[in-house]
Amino acid sequence: MGNRILVATRKGLFLLDRKSASENAWNISAPAFLGSPVTMAFSDPRDGSLYAALNLGHFATKLHHSSDGGKTWQERAVPVYPPQPENLPKPENEFAKVAPWSLAQVWALESDGGAQAGGLWAGTIPGGLFHSCDGGQSWQMIRSLWDRPERNQWFGGGYDYPGIHSICVDPRNTRHVTVGVSCGGAWSTQDGGENWVCTAKGMRAEFMPPDRQYDPNIQDPHRLVQCQASPDVLWVQHHNGIFRSADRAASWTEIAEVKPSVFGFAVAVHPKDPKTAWFAPAVKDEFRLPVDAQLVVTRTRDAGQSFETLRAGLPQEHSYHLVYRHCLDVDASGDRLVMGSTTGGLWTSVNQGDSWECVSQNLPPIYCVRFVDN
């Protein structure tokens, strides 16, 4: 458990291997894709394949696959949007712009939960969801979600266009999938993607006029995660708060008054304990900095009734690290955590966050961290 970590950064993909079973110390590989932004990384537990999504700027998004633990990589296909119709409807709210039908970024990459390796879901900017049966050699767009009329109200949160950043597959029933969209709320399917409903009831958008703040379709969940052992429970770190659902996303409860801040991007839930979750708080909204320049992680063990502020081993002065939405992960045991920052800081914990070890403060800006649990 938790002996290898993928660290996707602005200048390449690093593979971290634990030095020994008893140490919280890591060997850092030379990066794959040196110099290239890697926005998402994924390890398929069914066959150990690794995937890396690159965003090459001029030359756009690319997907690579490794079948030998990262020693060599081969390019695979990326999701491709269908031909764009001539007369698209005008967006239905003042924040929205017509999203071009072209892949801007792979923002989520997950197993579809089936027995066959290579069955993948991909979430993208500008908001399309795709599925592959063959490890990314080909992709099919989920038109049933893309063609929802409600998508005309989605808009970008920190990006020009909306995007799917979280994909949660119910381990009891892989046809039940919930996705998180910034800004488009949360959407769920019970039939493998043929039909979708918006499942963000109870989320609140402080950035909207009062009469629209509870509109499920324009919510900005920054990150959405599901407890593997208790899949009825999901957690959201939202643009302006923390939310929890205990009924498979049918409804969400806001958890207010969380110190030092309810704002952040990342959340991780204990894989076996639905009441335990971790967050990386920051000063809200336009500032996006650690509160009082002290990097902390908050943890609840009672479903959000109370929180502990965890700081042992984390920088407590002049610290301006920001933890993005894919930069906090917990391993399959629930004991080991990894966290990466926009300023190249990387920390790990072996005791559920009670204390942290700094792996590096000198990496490139970190976009995604993931334990390899196979």
Binding site: P37, L56, F59, A60, V78, Q84, W101, L103
Partner: protein, 91 residues
Amino acid sequence: MPKVQFTPHLQRFVDCPPSEVTGDTVRGVLEAVFAQNPRLRGYILDDQNRLRRHVVVFVNGEPVHDREQLSDAVQASTEVFVMQALSGGGA
């Protein structure tokens, strides 16, 4: 025959030697190149087959006028250069 060449920066990601192909528009010659090298398409064109935002195509030293349809004419002696714009280098 028109000659198509690619910025060396692209060679870092995908093999793209200079090639002479038939075609009488920029679209035509690029499609001829992609027929031989399908992997190259997604590096140059977006999902709607338009020139990517930070890619510039020069025809005999002049930037193309039609970045969407790529209808700029090409003659037998034309040299087409596919370059990356400086605007895409912010990372």
